[in-house]
Symmetry: C2
Subunit: 187 residues, 2 copies
Amino acid sequence: MAKNRKIDMVILGLLSHESLTGYDIKKRIDGAIRFFWKGSYGSIYPALAAMETQGLVTRAAETDSDGGSCGREKTAYAITDNGRQALLRWLNDGKASNDMKYETLLKLFFGGSADIATSIDNIQRFGVEIRDELRLLRVYQDNLSGTIGDKEHLHYYLTVTFGIETYEAYLRWCAEAIQTLTDAERQ
Amino acid sequence: MAKNRKIDMVILGLLSHESLTGYDIKKRIDGAIRFFWKGSYGSIYPALAAMETQGLVTRAAETDSDGGSCGREKTAYAITDNGRQALLRWLNDGKASNDMKYETLLKLFFGGSADIATSIDNIQRFGVEIRDELRLLRVYQDNLSGTIGDKEHLHYYLTVTFGIETYEAYLRWCAEAIQTLTDAERQ
DNA sequence: AAATGATATATCTGTTTGATATATCTGTAT
DNA sequence: ATACAGATATATCAAACAGATATATCATTT
């Protein structure tokens, strides 16, 4: 049987707050979640269909937003009780795979085959990206800092501080690594 | 055509130092590389076959180690000049995708649906894993610290310091997050 | 001689990515 | 009004990938 689909839990987690369409789910994943997970339409829509069959989600009422005339086709999904149980089982199963795929580090690992200037350039590009993301994370942090009395917001907040502290460490490393390589370049 | 296979560059990078079998390649990936990339047999063997067709790698001589009698079947691959060029093009193309898939953070993000004790437990498990990995990285660091005058070793060294500084940041965050959640649990 | 565990190659199933196709709706400029 | 750009929405496909498993050989111990 199936049951190795991690995306299921992302979807159930999002639906535990509100009913959403596949498109909405993709937008949520591309928001605050993208710092530690990602998902594509190619996994979201099939997962929704499979979970509907399994009774973990159902199609929610399809009113168009303003109750106006015949709105466009739009399928929102809602979580079921079975879905909530599945989500809780996952939260409590004590297992978690944590994997990076950092192409920048891969390029650095094999950077001995190229010029040192290439490695410096690759690290600099990485640093620019991280700086941009860090700026965004700090906006998230500011927006959340008033409401961490709420249990849910506190959990969001902790994932944001994880991102911030991690990215700050990246930037410190970038500076050191560039310095080290620059020194090596000058012999 | 194909050409979105990132694993190709891992394999070419490894083969640029020495000829290796698919099994050897897997072992290398599970070594120092696993901190920022991973690969499975299901991607390695097909990639080797495809790259042989493309002329990026060739089958190397298949002697059994001691020149003894008829050794067991064993297919080592060597990089070609075209392979080296492909590796260099990749190192210099200025593109890199850097993505995490951290299930622990996902569980924390949706942790509002469970007990705070569950979140604390999930963070603690993460911390234990990271502490173990960090110990290993420090061994790598010690082994390399004498030879960073060598350009290749210097590059390895920088990927190790990336891991160390990142993991140290994780551990600081773990301690803070557990403290925050413990306080919240007590109200 | 038998058992065990490491080495070695390969394949299979299911999942996921990344790209693309199709179409509708909304706001804006002409 | 209308044309258009850009956002919304659903869906699908090929290629890439993970994780598990099957098979077999070799080296070492028992």
